[in-house]
Symmetry: C2
Subunit: 286 residues, 2 copies
């Protein structure tokens, strides 16, 4: 596997690929876990060339967020991506990504202002900008995003359609630890106790899914059932919302065919955790 | 020359091109005049394939601007681009460019908020968005922009750098009518008298250029000399500014090596006219 350093090395590598080759691209913030590796494996099946980027993008972190605490593991990342079958990994340098004079912004107002964007107004504009830049640099035919960041999937798909990019966005299912806790690089900032407490989030989502499978369609009751499981003095809930899977608009009731998505965000030991589950629709459930 | 109708026809045409071919792209709002055709001719010299787009982009017009009055001439445009040597022209349809649910925005705050962007806050975000979309659709290796829209050239260059697009932006000199009036599709909305009065803009710029060539470097005096020529009760000046050619920051004095750009915008018979000239630098002058 090629380890690419510097933007010019990346460009040269990209130019050197077979002109018609399918290129599968997995953008990451590093500290790669099994969730990321499942994206790489999926890309390996779908594309002739597989490339991974690693960049802890400062523009998607607000002033008081955990940019400095975000875990980093360059050597481990290179080793794991290589084993998972990637052809190249690029470690981006901040001064090359955002050189002096940088002025361009990208935004998707309605989708980017709800849920994870409500209290973090810079987050999704930052995500959209870096993803767009990476798409221009890697010029992929396919790009792989995990449904763990469900709102991000919706936003990237919307941006790709709106900006007429010819890239197929492939959504990959969320990966869980054995306990049920959604895999996240941030889990490494939890204590062993925190990891146990955090399982409550997924327990809540599964409880809602069971209720949905038994025929419950009312959003308030589905959410209340989840909330009971999540309730814990150590968990500070940011949101627990049942939304339309495409528009992210809040639902009063779930139409099983169109489906709904139950999304949760919470803080535990100052670590921000998110999780989500499909209720009906293509995503799953009865 | 191929006349492309519909976004899927454009995509199919683009996919059918030789993979490594150089593609020169000229985005326009139609009502093509000699200025546009000089861009097509320049593209013809530089690239193997030459494509033109025509779209009067509503998102770059404010509520009280001249979107409805903007001249349109589809048949003439196709004929003139063909004669100028283009291989394809695409007439974009608004409902394909901005389908329902469209949400993405692009902006370049510092550059986009001055001069033509000061009283028209939607203008340059609209330009940036449509240019980016067209770049994704046409995937050009070279794109051609006239220096008549000087601020637009600076903005597009900045966006291409910031977003890591591998496109060479080729600036082409402003083209004038015999009288000196800068060529513009909007000139067709002027009366014969208006066309004569409007020549004052270029006369003002040339007077500043002559003063610069005689050694004048002081911005206030260069601007004052131009203003004397432009002064006319029928002309309502929007701005007359001497700025840095790259940052567009106002200058106190011109460094002949770095150069300056004298930019003017005015209304005459309710028609908005712009013009500009290089003082020193690479652009010209002593």
């Amino acid at each position: 596997m090629r380890i690419l350093d510097g933007i010019e090395e990346l460009r040269a590598w990209r130019r050197g690929l077979e002109p018609g080759a399918t290129v599968g691209f997995v953008p990451t913030m590093g500290a790669l876990h099994d969730g990321h590796l499942s994206l790489v494996a999926r890309a390996r099946e779908a594309a002739e060339v597989v490339a991974v980027s690693v960049f802890v993008n400062p523009t998607q972190f607000g002033a008081n967020e955990d940019l400095d605490r975000y875990p980093r593991d360059r050597e481990g990342d290179a080793e794991r991506t290589g084993s998972a079958g990637a052809d190249a990994i690029w470690f981006a340098r901040e001064e090359e990504v955002y050189p002096p004079g940088f002025a361009t912004t990208v935004d998707l107002p309605p989708i980017a202002r709800r849920l994870c964007g409500l209290d973090r107004p810079v987050h999704f504009p930052g995500v959209a900008l870096i993803v767009l830049k990476l798409f221009h640099l890697f010029r992929p035919t396919h790009a792989f995003f995990g449904e763990k960041d469900y709102q991000q999937c919706v936003l990237v798909e919307r941006m790709v359609r709106d900006l007429d990019l010819e890239i197929e966005i492939v959504r990959c299912p969320l990966v869980r630890e054995e306990s049920g806790l959604a895999r996240s690089s941030r889990n490494s900032n939890l204590t062993p106790e925190g990891r146990e407490v955090g399982v409550a989030l997924s327990r809540g989502l599964f409880r809602a899914r069971e209720a949905f499978d038994r025929g419950e369609r009312d959003a308030a009751r589905l959410i209340a059932g989840a909330a009971v499981e999540i309730e814990d003095p150590r968990i500070s809930l940011e949101y627990l919302e049942l939304v339309d899977p495409v528009t992210l608009a809040p639902l009063d009731a779930v139409d099983p065919e169109r489906g709904g998505r139950l999304l949760v965000a919470a803080r535990l030991e100052s670590v921000r955790l998110i999780d989500n589950i499909a209720l009906g629709g293509e995503g799953g459930g009865a």
